[in-house]
Symmetry: C2
Subunit: 344 residues, 2 copies
């Protein structure tokens, strides 16, 4: 194919604004770690599409990519554009797969426009669900919650389930999925009374504000008989409290440790981990990249629940590419309820 | 049955010497926590046997039973006899199952003689293996090693396996079983150069003395490519080092934490537990009581390897019931290689 399917070429952007990693943070990132640049877009090769991003996601795991440490996702490179999920509209296409006007999901976020190979884009239908849903509960966020409950943590019908960071994107999905899968009771923790209120609206059986007192005490009150399953998004004292409350053959899906990501002091572990011996507890860490083969199963089982409204989701939206780092940093101060996205 | 099958009654003991828990220890137990008493034996009821113990076992898990805390095995009671595995000879029987002269294994150790129900005794054949083997590698010790490798930790052929406390009864069995099951490389840690030497004789591919330097450094040297499986008998810095060296989808069977049992300071956890997320590590604690249904499978698969000599085992023997607490305490200072038993 040599022709380019495109809007009138005069309307096409020739540059993109993109965030690059200016320096690596120590502890909580600051504005100085990010730099917004305007650069020329490359020409489209055969198979490429030009996408104007409308919504991009910020996620806690991106903090790890700002470090120069070998991890499950490669680190962002200094002075190179940062990446992450985004939904946009095809403005020009040299691909058989996509036409101008198509909505696509891809991983070239943190920028306004992008030229990408069609193999790196997935079509989405914005009549079925909004872009934020495709970046969240119907996307990797929802899949993370599903995988944590199923293949990783082996949640069983009748389990008493505890979820930390429960008002976050993954947590709120996990709590509702757990109810759908037959948990006898789902308890969530969150960082404000408003979030606790929201969890109860979403169908959590109990919820508490972890700022109201020690997690272990509040968990003991809300789960007096103990718990069978803990979906860990937080680490630290939440993990320790969950191990303490766990019943025999309990399971922990270790999804994230947001309480630790910006910790520059001596790292700490749960002081009661040895209890896992007597209680026969299983703790299993996971990253989504190793479980992407479950995406089809997830779509089949859970997408209808989302589209029908049985499973709800919240979105916190910030506006303008210039505010993207600030939106990202809000994740660590609890500024979001549900999925945090930035609209351009 | 009303008659008693017995040696000439004049020869039968009418008393037993038994160790009772005199007080609960703080930290490392001392002599004052134990008291040796001589008490009358009860009459035999129908189904009972009188056993003269010849060999009794001391095990690290007994330390936990000296605390007054709810655990997977009930605590020893103050001023009551302590219990544990023993092998002895039937001196008198009101049971159809056992005759005078039979050798039996039971859990009324820490005493010279015992009257027990026949349902609590298992026959053993001392022509096949000595008493210490039935208390160790062919008994609960061997089963613990087997269960940790199989049902709990899901060791796979080709795994690089690391075992702490490897010269101990469970550790030396686990290392040899792992080789039999196809581990590509088995590395052990122990607390003296003699023990390290012994591990190499037993077929470990590498071994180190944890007193020679930080565990993490020595593990990195002996397993430069990392490990896939860790059989944890020790906890503490061993567990932390193993998590650090673990490869993707690695597994930890948490069997014991002997480094922590007498710890009275602030408990510590592995500071790097959050690495389990990115590495997709599974840590699973276990107690043997939940896996006794695998005893038959274990006997079938592993007993022939032991009886034929393919799997070796060491026994450290102390003599005299009066020395039983001292033998027990030696477990925590590394005085034993292999199974520690006391002969009466």
């Amino acid at each position: 194919m040599t022709s380019t399917d495109a809007l009138s070429t005069t309307e096409l952007p020739t540059t993109t604004q993109q965030w690059v990693l200016a320096s690596r943070p120590t502890g909580l990132p600051t504005d100085e770690n990010f730099r917004l640049e305007t650069v020329d877009l490359p020409e489209l090769n055969d198979g490429d599409i030009l996408v104007a991003n409308s919504v991009a996601t910020v996620d806690p795991y991106m903090r790890g990519r700002m470090n120069d440490t070998k991890s499950y996702v490669p680190p962002f490179q200094l002075d190179q554009p940062m990446t992450g999920g985004a939904v946009g509209t095809v403005l020009a296409s040299k691909s058989d797969k996509f036409q101008v006007g198509d909505a696509v999901r891809h991983s070239y976020g943190w920028q306004t426009n992008a030229v990408i190979a069609d193999s790196e884009a997935t079509p989405v239908d914005l009549n079925v669900a909004p872009a934020a849903a495709y970046l969240g509960i119907l996307g990797l966020t929802g899949l993370t919650a599903y995988v944590g409950l199923t293949a990783v943590g082996e949640m069983k019908e009748g389990d008493v389930v505890f979820i930390s960071g429960a008002a976050g994107a993954v947590g709120s999905a996990a709590g509702q999925f757990a109810k759908q899968m037959g948990a006898s009771r789902v308890i969530g923790s969150a960082g404000s009374d408003e979030k606790v209120e929201r969890l109860l609206e979403l169908g959590f059986d109990a919820a508490f504000n972890y700022n109201d007192g020690p997690v272990a005490e509040q968990l003991a009150k809300t789960a007096p008989e103990g718990i069978d399953f803990y979906f860990d998004n937080v680490g630290g004292d939440h993990l320790e409290a969950a191990i303490g409350a766990m019943r025999t053959f309990g399971r922990v899906a270790m999804c994230g440790a947001i309480s630790q990501y910006n910790n520059t002091g001596a790292p700490t572990g749960p002081r009661n981990l040895a209890l896992a011996i007597g209680k026969c507890i299983t703790l299993r860490g996971f990253v989504l990249g190793k479980y992407l083969h479950l995406a089809g199963e997830f779509q089949e089982r859970m997408a209808p629940q989302v589209v029908s409204g049985k499973v709800a989701y919240d979105v916190t939206t910030r506006h303008g590419i210039e505010n993207m780092p600030a939106a990202f940093l809000e994740l660590f101060s609890g500024g979001n309820t549900g999925k945090m996205v930035v609209e351009f």
